[in-house]
Amino acid sequence: MSERIVIIGAGQAGAQAVATLRAEGFAGSIAMVGDEPFAPYQRPPLSKAYLSGAFERERLFLKPDAFYAETKCELILGVGAKSIDRSRRFVLLSDGRTLAYDKLLIATGSRVRRIAVPGADLKGIHYLRGIADVDALRPAFTKGARLAVVGGGYIGLEVAAVAAKHGLDVTIFESLDRVMARAVSPQVSAFFEDVHRTAGVRFLMNTTVEAFKGREKLATIRAGGATHAADIALVGIGIVPNVEIAKDAGLACTDGLVVNHFAETDDPAIFAAGDCTRHTGREGDQIRLESVQNAIDQAKHAALAMVGKHTPYSEVPWFWSDQYDLKLQIAGLAKHGDKIVVRGAPASRKFAAFHLRAGRVAAVEAVNAAPEYIVGRKLIADRAHVPPERLADTTIPMKNIV
């Protein structure tokens, strides 16, 4: 009988795995289960072009329907996977069906972290993770509406940018002392705060939301000991990996489902990829990445391992964010204690911050600066030593930096 592969999770990683499995000649059956009623789609545009209305829903889908017919991938949508029976090798679905597998890919992704304060269930409080979230949020995006953004991360800032452009009155509540603190250097945080302020966005830094108040719907927010009026709130305070099904099946999970360089779990029949995983990064530390790049690359390695063509995952992580007319491109992972070298003037709206660790280029954050990003990504991959004064010297083109 031909081999059966089941994929739990119909997102970016799942879709990539199907493509790679077939490209590598896998001839058995593939079934992919997703709890949203949609075929795999792109999440990044949700907080940008889809929210602003520039992108219709149809454009979000990663693959046309013909892809699933051509790859003979059975799509089971709007159905959750409930549990995995590892000894008998089947997945139990929420509708009572079972799917037998020879190899299983867990690509369950992540979900938003919910805010646990009084009033958090009031109408008017939104999160942003899926198509349905944006469809619910968009009608509230009316000119003059007071939007409270809770959390100054990528999602919060991207939504703030779209909202400011649409004429909403935006306030960002951030519990730390700067925006995107987990992802970028202080120099880049400061730059983006300035850009948002210029667009009319207000910031309340070092301010933790204590409660949402209102009768039927949100009216005010209690934060930092003061009360702030708000018509809608968008909470973007991070994501949580969907590991429950793996954990319940006895697979090792420590803030993410643990996989090795080949995207294998400790069960030889089970592989995992994307936001839900935890793996050893290029620097040797345990990391959990929340990104398109990780979903794509790890899924490719998982699919390769599933067909017996093991190749280690060692790609440099990369990320991007679009806010106003600015493109922020990031490669590598910043760490506390990195030496930051700024190349170019932030005031020119075109600059980059390089992170040096023990003299080597470890990460770069580039604002409207594609050469710095592209070359930087290569320098990180090569673990290159570049003197800081050279990196900072804009008279040396990036092409000739080494």
């Binding site: 990044p44 889908f61 693959k63 046309p64 790049q293 493109k327 594609a370 070359v375």
Partner: protein, 106 residues
């Protein structure tokens, strides 16, 4: 709907209808035409949707923005006709456009 012809590196041709407003990259991806990866989905962030525009169409091409220009600088096998297909918006004027794919996007 504008028609676009995509020619793979091996010479295989695909002529498909692409809605105006979409990008040339999306036209390829949504029609399962191999040779364009577009990992970032069209955000001009990954440079894996490189194409060569048929010289007959050069004059009708929308101009390159800075970001595309610099991203392209680092593409493999760059030619004067190189573009990032995610940055070419399909319009009725581009009906009949011909693009060729490079050997590899990486």
């Amino acid at each position: 709907m504008p028609k676009i012809k995509y020619i793979e590196h091996n010479g295989k041709e695909h002529e498909v209808d692409v809605p105006a407003g979409w990008s040339v990259m999306e036209g390829a991806v949504k029609n399962l035409i191999p040779g364009i990866d577009a990992d970032c989905g069209g955000a001009c962030a990954c440079a894996t949707c490189h194409v060569y525009v048929d010289p007959a169409w050069t004059a009708k091409m929308p101009p390159k923005q800075d970001m595309e220009e610099t991203m392209l600088d680092f593409a493999q096998e760059l030619e004067p006709t190189s573009r990032l297909s995610c940055q070419i918006k399909v319009t009725p004027e581009l009906d009949g456009l011909v693009v060729r794919m490079p050997k590899s996007q990486h």
